[in-house]
Amino acid sequence: MINLTIDNKKIEAEAGQTILEVARENGIVIPTLCSHESLEPSGACRLCVVEAKQGKRTRIVTSCLYPVAEGLTVETKSERVLAARRLVLQLLLARCPESQQLKEMAEDLGIEPEPRFTPDKDNSKCILCRMCVRTCEKVVGVCAIGFSYRGAEKNVCTPFKEDSVSCIGCGACAYVCPSGHIEMETTESGDARTIWGRTFKMQTCKVCGRYFAPEDQLTYISRTSGVPVEDLAVCISCR
């Protein structure tokens, strides 16, 4: 067991845990934007930063990645931490002025937009939390979308910004997207959905007859798992 202190609270943790995990287990709230239980932490948004002191050394670190250590003292709301968090949200608000989720989060944390940052006008809601790409690569395994360019021009897209050949229409990326940037449209009858520029025919469940998953997704699962497609054509409720 590892003994550390978070916000003056003495806590026991297991080796290998991150500060964020331990904080959450102990009811201490640290805001995040790029963290998801199914994904390895990425440390990209910097919202979860905390002030961590080990011996004589104090550092500002992302709690989602920093491993707990014996004698570590953590402050989740020090001045430096609040200043860094404030800047992160102010920058994101200026980047995605249309995002309702960001506005709400800023309000919750008592952060006002910085008037000197001229809001971007491209109507993008993407905050580059990287969850869609990480999901597509590590959870789904298809790598249909990825990053392109770098710096402020970095964006998530399909290769060559053309309709993705490898997308299976599973919609996982739209599901994890925290800001509503990725759009997936389904027809009224549910027989097709459109995402990343492509339209996918949906498969009906053998049992209940509802449309539940894209045919392409089932073909992919069949190919990678070896299970025949016919056996996969049953929706979750009917299993």
Partner: protein
């Protein structure tokens, strides 16, 4: 084709034989063909020398050697004629014949090719008397003039690879590490981290295989020391790496070279091939059972790949995005294996420490910064070039004694060190002793060793804007503070430079800087605010002038200056009206000209072309 050297004893006899076979009294023409001198057209001069020597049947009597950079780049093309070490500079591309006939055959000095000491007005004949060289301590870099980088024999003849022999056959790995720790060799790439401790951590780390990496990404604009070392003496760097690999317990090394350095890549590839042929790379080196080899990887054009974790990502075939360094590279680096990364110059220092001992090395420099450092002294400076001095030398000595001061009689304003991660240092600190800690105290950093000199015609707001803009285009884009924060800082700086600065901008920049330093994922982001913070610290009044008075004191920021004609100096030569792209500058022959501010785009063509100093920029 090198034949295999199977033991340290064999190396010694090869060195002896090569040295004995070279008559130090034999006349030898050495000429620099580093990238800088090649840009002067030196290849033509090289070809010409070979031709002229052949024509006169002198190819066997007079030695001719092409070498890497000598450092006095302002004065190229240049040659040094041994044994007297006659120094000729700004040699004309067709001077070969004359030099051979007069100096080599008749012993006559050609006056007009001599360097004139601006302090005394006297001509200097010998290389060692040139003030630029005299005041340096060219421990590492000085070897460049002694070897043809494509000749392993040259390197062996001056004792090359002795340190490797001593280390592999006479020292245990832990002993070697202790020597490097005792010598207190600190990283020359920017971090200044004690190399010995890094080696120690890597050696002790769990995991296999272990890698060593040479960081030759040298991205700081204005810095080219590493390029010149790799181009000019690749075997020195290799020797350091092999010693390090042995000490750490690694059998695979990588050299990551910037894409924009083709000659360095070429020369290091030649050196590796030769070292393999000689058995100094590969299996069972010197018969000790230790094996090590090296691969070269070229960068793809990304400044961020100078950061170690981004460099590893690039080596792994991915985009150069850094990752959090809470787990050190020495534990999990390249391919998540223990990795020791050091800069080119750091590796190059290792053979000296092994050969002459840690105590000797620690006798050079200051208390916490040992040894020498190679700096690239560029910008508004008379003697542009590469300079090597002991740590602790003052800025004044570097800029004025060695650098020859500011051209055109202008005044020193600031010197920028540490590249885009560093800061600007004003005149009042010219007497500071240059070392890692002193530079950090003053708000800058050593960085890789770039030193950019500025005069009163440089605007510090413009400089801050320039660096911030550079970092905006080089940011990998992964984390919010850097990707979003630095471009917002840049936007505010652009506003200030273009006359749209507002009250409170400087304070906002300072606040943003603190949060970006704290919040950024890697050192690119966390050091990005340094140029802004240091220029605000030392040149706050210049920011005030831009914001409050909409004035650029240095006459640089286009939106805040006007070009006009000085009626007293103007002779009506019409040159400005000819070069003006918009017709703003106009006038009749022999009559005072005028510039129409409505049409003027402030491109600067008129000021550049006016021979009568008749263009005023305010």
């Amino acid at each position: 084709m090198m034949s295999k050297i199977k033991s340290f004893d064999e190396l010694k006899s090869v060195q002896e034989r090569l040295k004995a076979g070279r008559d130090p009294k034999k006349p030898c023409i050495t000429i620099c063909v580093g990238t800088g001198c090649l840009a002067y057209g030196t290849q033509k001069l090289v070809d010409s020398f070979r031709e002229e020597l052949a024509k006169r049947g002198l190819t066997d009597t007079i030695e001719f050697r092409t070498t890497g950079c000598h450092g006095f780049c302002e004065r190229g093309p240049m040659i040094v004629i041994f044994p007297e070490k006659v120094f000729y500079q700004r040699v004309g591309l067709t001077d070969a014949g004359e030099i051979i006939d007069k100096t080599l055959l008749k012993g006559e000095i050609i006056d007009q090719l001599l360097y004139i000491d601006p302090a005394t007005g006297e001509k200097v004949v010998h290389e060692d008397d040139v003030p630029f060289y005299k005041k340096q301590t060219r421990l590492v870099f000085g070897l460049n003039s002694k070897v043809d980088p494509a000749s392993m024999e040259d390197y062996l003849a001056i004792g090359g690879y002795s340190a490797l022999g001593k280390a592999l056959t006479g020292m245990k790995p832990e002993e070697i590490i202790q020597e490097v720790i005792k010598a207190n060799l600190r990283g020359r790439g920017g971090g200044g981290f004690p190399a010995g401790w890094k080696w120690d951590s890597t050696r002790k780390a769990e995991g296999d295989p272990k890698y060593i990496v040479c960081n030759a990404d040298e991205g700081d604009p204005g810095a080219y020391m590493d390029r010149s070392l790799l181009e000019g003496n690749p075997h020195l760097v290799l020797e350091g790496m092999i010693i390090g690999a042995y000490a750490i317990g690694s059998s695979q090394g990588y050299i990551y070279v910037r894409n924009e350095y083709p000659l360095a890549v070429k020369n290091i590839n030649i050196a590796i091939r030769q070292a393999r042929e000689a058995g100094l790379l590969g299996e069972n080196i010197f018969g000790t059972g230790f094996s090590f080899d090296v691969k070269i990887n070229r960068g793809g054009g990304a400044f961020v790949c100078g950061e170690s974790s981004a460099l590893f990502a690039s080596l792994e075939g991915r985009a150069g995005e850094p990752r959090a360094k809470y787990i050190h590279a020495t534990d999990k680096g390249l391919y998540d294996k223990p990795t020791n990364l050091n800069n080119v110059e750091t590796w190059a220092n290792v053979p000296f420490i092994i050969n002459r001992g840690a105590d000797w090395y620690a006798g050079i420099g200051t208390e916490n910064s040992k040894g020498t450092k190679i700096f690239s002294l560029v910008g508004k400076i008379n003697n542009t070039g590469l300079v090597e001095v002991p740590m602790g030398t003052t800025l004044r000595e570097i800029v004025f004694d060695i650098g020859g001061g500011i051209p055109d009689g202008r005044k020193f304003k600031a010197i920028q060190t540490g590249g885009p991660s560093g800061g600007c240092i004003p005149e009042k600190h010219l007497d500071m002793r240059v070392d890692f800690d002193e530079l950090t105290k003053i708000g800058s950093m050593m960085g890789s060793g770039g030193m950019i000199v500025m005069d009163e015609r440089n605007c510090m707001v413009d400089v801050a804007r320039y660096f911030t803009n550079f970092l905006v285009s080089e940011s990998c884009g992964k984390c919010v503070p850097c990707r979003e924060g630095i471009r917002r800082m840049r936007d505010i700086l652009v506003d200030i430079a273009e006359g749209r600065g507002r009250e409170g901008d400087v304070e906002l920049l300072e606040k943003m800087a603190a949060a970006i330093i704290d919040g950024s994922l890697c050192a690119l982001g966390s050091s990005a605010p340094n140029p802004v913070i240091s220029t605000i610290r030392y040149f706050r009044d210049e920011y005030k002038a831009h914001i409050e008075e909409k004035r650029c004191p240095a006459g640089v920021c286009k939106a805040l200056i006007t070009y006009s004609v000085d009626a007293e100096n103007c002779t009506g030569c019409t040159v400005c009206s000819k070069v003006c792209p918009t017709g703003a500058a106009s006038g009749e022959r022999k009559k005072v000209h005028a510039i129409d501010p409505a049409k003027c785009t402030k491109c600067g063509a008129c000021r550049e072309s006016c021979k009568f100093d008749a263009i005023i920029v305010r």
